[in-house]
């Protein structure tokens, strides 16, 4: 008897090469992409002292928005040794990272890489990083129950080319003698082992190409132009903090930042099959944007600004419209009119599920927690027609499954830092 199967096994799910990983995926990408990736500099002293200083190296679109690198690999790493790392290991990690920088130029068509460290890593020294509040991760809403990530370190690899993130990953794992014509002086082999691997993509066309996953309707619900599964642009220049604003400005880790990484599962069948375009615009941006038809297509017409100045405060929409928009709530977390985090998030098919790896950087983890509190809209739902999730931005369509907090040190201290590198 033939039965339709729903669930993962039903899907004729074709994973992208980046999602699969490994040597054959690297070969397949290299074959298909047919590009000469520019080599990096020989003089590493010319590179920015901030690991997170990506924006100057990245392209800008017609509106001045930073163009996010299209392919991502994030590796959660456990330190192999007992106790605290040695200077030899520190040097090995630095050589490995330096080799990546020599192999690939920084930029969309090359590679951007950061390494960050968890509270658990610093606990090896029975200490906290000097001058930085780095709390263990925790649930950030009364309605979420995430698993908490506690690897030692996290590497974030980003490029417009799948072969670059895969090549860099393989090289760090010790599987390439040379990369893009440059010798790998070292790898992470023997120092770190990979505890988890997360992959994904962001940018026009990629969500539509990767929509045959659980959590999305069958067919082609996702717009070809959409950079993310939910169908709208994000990362508008004016909705992002500046790199200066998220940089730690004092102490031995000055020039660094903090990173939060969550894994969010998306449930977008209702979003695409039951909500109207009006509802999607209202819930993503604000009801006023939907009433006035301010968002065309995926939102390119908004330019560099999602237009939150033209939305009423969330409480007013909640009281009178019975709903409130996601961006509208998030804008409440601004400090002196400026956002407090930089989103460097990307969508994912990991596990065969539509997902979002929400990676953000901010001066302190508290900046992230407060931004997330604003997004929860709990103060908005209390005393109004808005539910905890119903008509409350996009909360109905997501489940936060994992959270982790990290210190992303300045480049000088990126390799197995001591809690007080100045000491």
């Amino acid at each position: 008897m033939s039965q339709r199967r729903r669930g993962i096994s039903r899907r004729s799910f074709v994973k992208s090469a980046v999602a699969i990983g490994g040597a054959s995926a690297f070969a397949a990408c290299t074959n298909r992409e047919q590009v000469d990736v520019p080599q990096g500099t020989d003089d590493l002293s010319t590179l920015p002292q901030r690991q997170h200083a990506w924006n100057d190296a990245l392209d800008r679109d017609d509106h001045g928005n930073v163009v996010a690198p299209r392919h991502r690999v994030v590796l959660l790493l456990d330190y192999v040794g007992e106790g605290t790392p040695s200077d030899d290991e520190r040097e090995q990690v630095e050589h490995a990272l330096g080799s990546l920088e020599r192999a690939y130029a920084r930029g969309n068509d090359g590679l951007l890489v950061t390494v960050s460290y968890s509270p658990r890593y610093f606990s090896r020294y029975d200490a906290s990083p000097a001058g930085v509040e780095l709390p263990e991760p925790e649930a950030l809403a009364p309605f979420e129950d995430p698993d908490l990530d506690r690897p030692d370190a996290v590497v974030h690899l980003a490029s417009d080319y799948g072969q670059v993130v895969l090549g860099a990953e393989q090289a760090l794992r010790g599987e390439h003698e040379s990369l893009n014509g440059v010798e790998m002086a070292a790898s992470f082999d023997g120092v770190f082992e990979v505890a988890a691997r997360r992959t994904g993509f962001v940018g026009r066309g990629l969500p539509a190409e990767n929509q045959d996953v659980e959590g999305l309707p069958d067919g082609d619900a996702v717009d070809e132009d959409a950079p993310l599964y939910m169908g709208f642009k994000s990362g508008f220049e004016k909705a992002q903090a500046s790199e200066d604003a998220v940089t730690i400005d004092a102490g031995p880790f000055a020039g660094g930042t903090t990173q939060h990484l969550s894994r969010i599962r998306l449930h977008l069948e209702q979003w695409y099959e039951q909500d109207s375009r009006y509802q999607r615009v209202a819930k993503m941006f604000c009801p006023a944007h939907a009433d006035d038809g301010r968002v065309e297509g995926v939102g390119d017409n908004l330019g560099s600004d999602s237009g939150m100045d033209e939305c009423p405060v969330p409480h007013d929409s909640a009281r009178s419209k019975g709903m409130v928009g996601h961006s509208q709530k998030s804008a409440e977390a601004r400090r002196d009119g400026s956002p407090r985090i930089i989103r460097r998030d990307f969508d994912s098919t990991d596990g065969g599920e539509a997902g979002l790896h929400f990676l953000s950087i901010q001066r302190s983890i508290a900046d992230f927690a407060e931004t997330r509190t604003a997004m929860n809209g709990t103060d908005v739902s209390d005393g109004s027609a808005v539910g905890t999730r119903t008509n409350n931005g996009i909360l109905q369509y997501m489940t936060v499954e994992r959270r982790g907090n990290y210190l992303l040190p300045p480049r000088a201290h990126r390799s197995l830092p001591r809690p007080d590198p100045a000491a």
Partner: protein, 347 residues
């Protein structure tokens, strides 16, 4: 093979295996029962009535979760004063309904955090979503949505219930503050589903009335209290937008408590997810003018209320509906309670 063809093929196979095939054709026809023409902007009798079947229930502490199903059907979501019709998908197998209640008082809890339903089979998630808070004529308030299953077989339905942050009164104080999760087994068979009653209502449809509430032994309905049930200093009733508003002032330790309990006509179901505010005047002077947050308690049930500075009798209360109930609507409710003008009542 296109999905439609697959459905057709499996439908034919099922028909061949049945002695009669009434169920099959009934199923086909229900999907095309047209909407009532010229629906009033009020509660009306829908084109048909469907039964429902209990799947099972789970209990943790004071809370019970009941899970029921029926045929998949159309409903309307609400954002602001707009409704959006949700049509059936070809692949939809059932309409799943979850309801949460307090076992001690049998009070339905329209918890603000909602529920998440994960339908699993062989350890895999078949469908996971947060069903809409809903109002239907035969069931009242519940959480529901249409789900596509894998066909006949054994499923496990995990229902996660969020913690409530609603104000809780009386014996509800401090209760329901933790999330809970129950797992309910579900043996699904299309042939059994097709035995659920389904009756067209050619004579009653469109009239200003409502279907009778379901009689279920184990599952309480979200019925609001009548004035006589309350131990109140005063009660009064007014109507607007086809909703009835029972207003009560009850004596609390910290002063008089003003409760506004909007409910559906005919069946007296509570109406969650509204923005309500109230202005209380005495001899032309404003005594109170503010929003009324939602609250729940064993006697007042789900309502909107707050403590007021004083109550003497004879005050005039104006109830303003800033946003109508944002609950999704089953057929017969989708045109009602959307345009709800302010209403005034003397206490």
């Amino acid at each position: 093979m296109q999905r439609r063809d697959v459905l057709k093929a499996s439908g034919l196979a099922a028909a061949g295996s049945l002695a009669g095939c009434n169920g099959l054709f009934e199923t086909q026809s229900l999907r095309t029962v047209p909407l009532v023409e010229d629906r009033p902007d009020a509660v009306y009798v829908p084109s048909h009535v469907e039964g429902m079947e209990m799947i099972g229930m789970g209990t943790k502490g004071r809370r019970a979760v009941g899970l029921m199903y029926s045929y998949p059907h159309r409903f309307w979501t609400v954002t602001g004063t707009r409704t959006e019709k949700v049509s059936l998908r070809e692949e939809d197998s059932v309409h799943l309904m979850a309801t949460v209640w307090d076992v001690e008082t049998k009070t339905v809890l329209p918890v603000d955090a909602g529920v998440t339903v994960d339908v699993r089979r062989d350890g895999e998630s078949v469908a996971k979503r947060s069903p809409w808070p809903m109002l239907s004529q035969n069931m009242g308030f519940h959480f529901g949505d249409n789900f596509a299953l894998d066909g006949d077989g054994t499923y496990s339905v995990v229902v996660d219930v969020g913690a409530t942050s609603l104000a809780r009164r009386g014996s509800f104080a401090g209760e329901f503050a933790d999330p809970l999760s129950v797992e309910i087994p579900f043996e699904y068979e299309q042939a059994t589903r097709d035995e659920i009653t389904f009756e067209k209502l050619p004579d009653r449809k469109g009239s200003r009335d409502a279907l009778s509430p379901m009689q279920m032994d184990m599952v309480p309905l979200s019925t609001a209290p009548s004035a006589g049930d309350l131990d109140a200093m005063t009660t009064a009733t007014t109507e607007s937008g086809d909703a009835t508003f029972l207003v009560a002032v009850v004596e609390d330790d910290d002063g008089p408590y003003l409760a506004v309990s909007p409910r559906t006509p005919y069946n007296r179901y509570v109406m969650p997810l509204m923005s309500l505010s109230a202005t209380l005047t005495r001899d032309g002077e404003t005594v109170f003018d503010d929003a009324l947050p939602a609250a729940i308690g064993p006697s007042l049930d789900y309502h909107y209320g707050t403590t007021i500075p004083s109550y003497e009798g004879g005050e005039e209360l104006t109830i303003t509906v800033d946003a109508p109930p944002q609950v999704s609507r089953h057929e017969g409710y989708e045109t009602a309670f959307l345009d709800v003008p302010a209403a005034t009542v003397t206490l």
